[in-house]
Each structure stands twice: as C-alpha cells, then as structure tokens.
Amino acid sequence: MSAPPRVEIVSMTKRFGDLLALDDVSLRLEPGTVHAILGENGAGKSTLVKCVMGYHRPDAGRVVVDGRAQAITSPRRAHQLGFGMVYQHFTLVPSMTGAENLVLGAAGLPAIIDWDAERATIERFQRRMPFQIDLDRPVSALAAGEKQKLELLKQLFLGRRILVLDEPTTVLTPDEADQILGVLGEMARENLLTVVIITHKLREVLAFAREVTVLRGGRRVGGGRAQDLDRDSLVRMMIGTADIPEPAARDVGPPGSVALGIEALRVVGDTGITAVRDVTLEVRAREIVGVAGVSGNGQRELVEVLAGQRQPESGVIRAGGARYRPTRGAMRRHKVFVVMEEPLRNTCVPGMSVAENLAFRNFDEPRNTVGGVLLSRRAIRRQALERIDRYRIRTEGPDARLETLSGGNVQRTVLARELSEDPAVLIAQNPCAGLDWAATTEIRSRIVTARNAGAGVLLLSEDLDELLELADRIMVMLEGRLVYETPRETADAHIIGRYMASHA
C-alpha cells in the first residue's frame, strides 16, 4: 500500500448567511500522524472537515495535496484524492452484510457482482489487517465496536489514506475506544494512514494524538504537538476565558427512603425482542443512581416505560412506596419527572412556543386556567418568564417557537419544566448529550441540586465520565440486564467498561 500524501489546509473560510462558521483556519497533516481537532460544539470542526471532504464549498482557502492545490468540488473528488470520512453515526447499511457494505463503496463496482471473486478479494485484504470481523453477518447484528472497525475496514478497503473520524469513540466503551485508537495509531506509525480525529475528549487527545489543533468560534486558537500541551491549557483554549460555572457541591449524608423501586421489570422492544430483562433496582431520596451502558442495551425502553410511553410485559414499579402506573395523574401525585434523550423528538413540540412547552406538566392546573376550562395565556406566560430567567434559557422570548432554540437551550427548557416542581423522582437519560462545556456543567449542577433537595435520581448515560462525576451508585446495563453495581467510592472506569462490553 502506498504512503498517505502530505496535506495542507490553507486559510479555510466558510460563511453561512451572517454566521462566519470558519475563519481563516490553516493546518498541516503530516503523513503517518494522528492529528486531533479539538473544540466545542459549534466551534467549526465539522464545517472544516466538510469543506475538505467536498460537502461544503469554502468561501476562501484551499487544500494542497502533495504540493499541488486541489479544488475539491464533491465528495467523490475527495475520495479520489484518498480522503475518507468515518461519521459519528455509522454510514453502514444495517440490513446488509459486512461484505456487501465493503463492496458497496468500490469505485469500479461492476453492474453484476461476482460474489465469489469479491469474497476472495476481501479475504486477501482482511488477512493484512490488524483485526478480523465476521463479514457474513448483517451489520445490524454487530456490536458498536465491531461496526466502528467495519467502518475503518471499509475505508481502507476503498483505498483511503487520510481518514477523518468524527467523534469516533462516542458509542464505544473505554476499552473499545482504546483498542480502536491504538490500532489507528499503529497504522499511522507504519505510514499506512494519516488520521484526523474530531473530538472533544481531552483524554483521547493526550493519549493518542501527535498533533492537536484547537478551534473556537470558527478560528484556530491554538495547538501544536500533543506532548507539549496539558489538560488545563487545552481546556482554556477550547472554552476561552468566559466564566466556567462551578459544579454544585454534593451534600454528604445518608440517602433517605426509597423514592423509586423497580421489581423484575421486563419490557419488549420495537423489534419484538425482550429489551429489558428482570431489572430490579431502588433509588432512594437524596441519591443519584447511575446506569452505564452502550446505547441500545435496553436503556431507552426502560425510560419509556417509566415515562408511560411503553407498556411493560411484567414487573412492578413503585414510587414513594406505592404502586405506580405512569399516567399523568400518578406522575403528578408522586412527583415523578422525566428528562428523556432527544427532547425535540420525544417530550417537546418543536413548533409550539417556549411558554407552551414549559407548561406541558401543569397547563391544566387551576392556577394556569380560567375557571378550570380555558387556558390562561397570561399565567402560562408569567410562569415562562420566571423559568426562562431562573434557568437562563436564551430565547427571543416566551413566544418563540422551541425549534428556534439551540440544543443547550432546548435542554434547559426541558429541565426547567421537569425540575421546577420539587421532583421526588427524576429520571434523566443522556441529559448533556451534544451540549457544550458550559451548558453541560450547568445542567449537571442542576441535577445535583435536585438530588440535594431530596429527589431520587435515576440517571442513564452513555458518558461514563458523567456517571463517575454525578452518581452515588453506578450500575451497568447490558443486553437488558443489570450486570454490575458499585458504589461511587470503588467505581473504576475500566472495570465498568468491561462490564459494558460483556459479562466478563
């Protein structure tokens, strides 16, 4: 295999309307290095690589490959030059086998496919690779780590030499992430590949990258060799000098009585397979119980049952000691509140106003109605103004449609709705997914504050660091079962990660 080319990105600039998404960014990709592009959401990381990959046409700037300036006008042109991209959401076709997915992208795919010949080629190719995957299974049956490996395999099979990976480890356990990044690093050292990792995880940058470029607000604000940089300086570059909210302190002291109890819960998922198997757990007041696990191990179905969006097959749920069936009345009586993932698709109406979305829990209570029948616009608006202020929701006003808000402010809106009425039970799933540093810190503080005020919190998260920071106890969910439990004091990321991956 040939060595990857030398790539220079010079003065890349991209404007979307009034927004300057990318402002004169330059960087150099030495052949055979791992180069990290670090930055918060909205810092311009994706815009930069999309310009290089031919998805966006930059307003200024150029890409120089092996000394020659190249106009990359389409993804196909980028592929011809050896650029390949691995997306955060896999671009494998779920119903197809690994082999079909590999062959699919080949440039000279013949009109009629000779599967015997293709298979022989794939086998010869896979023998040279540092890892093996079963290519006869449909992709939908592969674990996340295997899918990620298949993506890498596909890029290499297609002859790509400069791999851009967009947040490659978000769906992996710590061990899987280390393994994938290790393999990539090794292949880069052997000069098979140049690797570009887009990420916001400092640990990975410091452990695996040789070069770093930090972006903020569309500008390159720093970077250099990873060995010359440390955690603090990277954080400062990434989030700037703006105030970083202090994380809320946790009250120490014993937890209270059982706030939420689940006994032998079984839930059938969308595909007819049992998604939650005999889950039994207790969450006490003034306690955060964290549930770790790779996405798709039954967390969503569990939350849907607790939120009343799905019927369980069997099992008992108790809130505050009493039998709890998640109806609107019971949720109100027992003060059960839920922060679901992807709120815009799940628990909000994007086309309704911020004020209306904030009132979903209590628009029908006497104080928000006129004579108990008609909605009182004035009361709902007053409530919205108060909550917007208290939760620092950045919006044009209470009448703005919710979909006009940024992700962090949608999440603040949901939290304002779910936390304002002294929850006894709070169920939260991936509450900070996709949010920037400041919003993440603030939302985590609010969850801790709710805990300190007496709520029992069930926190399901794919972000292990979040659980290690917040939870009093951590459990691991694998294939619908709770397979491990540890108190905060003895929690170890690598042990938890191993349980996330298998029954080890």
Binding site: S74, P75, R76, H79, M85, Y87, H89, T91, L92, V93, P94, S95, M96, E100, V103, L104, G105, L109, P110, A111, I112, I113, W115, V268, G269, D270, T271, G272, R310, Q311
Partner: protein
C-alpha cells in the same frame, strides 16, 4: 363426459382464478416493492393501475395491437411515477400525501380520457392453453395462462436476484436503508428514488393493461375496485421480498376469485359477501402482521412509515 366436479370444481376455479386475478396484484406489488426498497411509498399506484388499463385498452383498440397497448400502459405508469418522484424530490414534501393526490389524479384522468372507449371492443391479449391435456373444461379454463403472468413470475425471481447481485440492487437498498450512507458514497438519493419510482410505475401500468386486455378484459370505470391499494398492503405482508410478493399475490387472487367460483357452481347467496373476501383478507393480514410495540421486520428504514 363428467362435468360436475362438485367441491373440487370450486377449488379448481379458485386456483385458476388465483392465477388469473393475481397478475395485477403481482405487478403492482413488485413495482411498489422496488419503490419502497428505495425509501419511498407510492400510494398512487391504484391510479397508475387504472390509467394503465385505460391507455392499454385505448391503444389496443386504436392500433389493433394489444402488445403495443401493454407497452403504452407501462409508459403511462412510468410517467405517473416520474411525476410522483419529481414532486417528492422537492423539500419537505410528504410522499404519502402526494401518493393520494396521484391516486385521485390517475383515476380521474383515466375516467375522463377513457369515456369514448367504454363501448368499443379492443383485441385481447392471447393466452397459452396449459390445460389442453385435460378432459375437464374446468381444468382447461383454469390453466389458460397469460404471458404477462409468466413474465411476472420470472420478474419476481429476477428482482430478488438483482437486489442482491447487481450494483443497482445494492444502490437501491442503500438509499432505502441509510440515506447518509448513500450520500457518503456520492450517490444521488433523489435520482435513485426517481428511477425506482418510475420503474415501479411502469410495472403498475403493465398490471393495469392486464385488467383491460385480458381479465376481465374490458374497460369501464369499475374495473380495478381497489386492487392497486391492496397490492400496496400486500407488499408489507410480503416483507418487501419480491418472491413472497408472488405467493401473496396468488393468495389475494384466490380470495378475489372466491365469489365468482362459488357462483359458477350455482352457489349465489351472499355473493357480495364473498366478493368482499380480498378486503377482509387485507384487513386481517395487516392486523395480524402489525403490532403496536414492534417495528416491521425487513422494512426499509428510510420509509416514512418506519421512522
């Protein structure tokens, strides 16, 4: 010669009717399978079917060649398919709504253009007498098989093979299953869907020509009675598998033939009730194969009904 076969007569008539009546179901469902495999639903195929029936009949009458009629029916169907695709390619257009509009447009257009052709008699498509060996006229009648049926069977097998073994098959499945993957490959999602919808429309048009040129073999406004719509439901029951489309089409054909078969042996009470058999079958199969807690296995994941 024995001509009274009793209960067997009903069975033979149902089997023969299944083969005869299934052809339009087969073509429409194969067309819809292709369209849905690319990630779009075309609910307008009932309109396409009626339009195909009318144009086939008109062309066969005017030129004297039924096969030319078949070709024109296919082209009319492809035209309606292209229209569906073109509208759906616009941003934020719902394919289900467009399909319903196209259903109404297709039937309305066929009725108004087809007015002058209700009276005249057009030449019919020839059939092959596979039952010539039998002494029983019932068996001979049941095995009068039309070339379009045979072509449809071959097409089902061919489509099954092509979806797994050709570049186009893989591309269509990619577009229907993961739009982002298709874009990452540099494929035009809209183009693939446009072609799939056009070819799907072509097939539905062919199905229509069978209605007017072979069985029942006339043109009038009550010709289709919802077969195009049932064929779309049939695709769901066949789990987007062309070969299964064939078997389910036979089943639907048999259900449709039940009423006439009973009538042919003199059992005429409740005729209209038996005529409702295919509609009942559609309902029962859809209820049976659906579940409020489950996604249909095999559904292309970019379909608006899967999301």
């Amino acid at each position: 010669m024995v001509t009274d076969l009793g209960g067997w007569g009903v069975l033979i008539a149902v089997v023969g009717g299944a083969i005869r009546v299934s052809t339009p179901y087969l073509y429409v469902s194969l067309g819809e399978t292709l369209t849905e495999k690319s990630g779009r639903v075309n609910l307008g195929l009932e309109g396409t079917l009626v339009m195909g029936a009318m144009s086939a009949y008109a062309v066969a009458y005017l030129t004297g060649s039924p096969w030319l009629g078949v070709l024109v029916a296919g082209c009319a169907g492809a035209g309606l398919g292209l229209l569906h695709a073109a509208v759906c390619n616009l941003p934020r257009v719902n394919d289900v709504a467009v399909g319903i509009a196209l259903f109404l447009l297709g039937t309305g257009l066929a009725f108004s253009l087809g007015k002058p052709f209700i009276q005249p008699v057009a030449p019919r498509l020839p059939s092959v007498a596979l039952g010539a060996w039998s002494a029983y006229p019932q068996i001979r009648a049941a095995l009068e098989i039309n070339a379009l049926f045979v072509a449809g069977v071959v097409l089902a097998a061919l489509m099954r093979w092509a979806l797994a073994h050709t570049r186009w098959g893989l591309i269509v499945r990619t577009v229907g299953d993961n739009e982002d993957a298709a874009r990452a490959l540099g494929r035009s999602v809209d183009l693939v869907r446009t072609l799939s919808t056009a070819v799907g429309g072509f097939l539905a048009g062919l199905g229509g020509s069978f209605l007017s040129l072979y069985y029942p073999g006339t043109w009038n406004e009550a010709l289709s009675s919802g077969q195009g719509l049932m064929a779309i439901a049939l695709v769901i029951f066949a789990r987007w598998n062309p070969v299964r489309c064939f078997w389910v089409s036979l089943l639907f054909g048999g259900a449709t033939a039940l009423g006439p078969a009973l009538q042919s042996v003199g059992f005429t009470s409740n005729y209209y009730l038996y005529g409702a058999a295919p509609y009942v079958l559609t309902l029962v199969l859809l209820v049976w194969s659906s579940s409020p807690t489950r996604v249909l296995a095999g559904a292309p994941s970019e379909l608006s009904i899967s999301r």
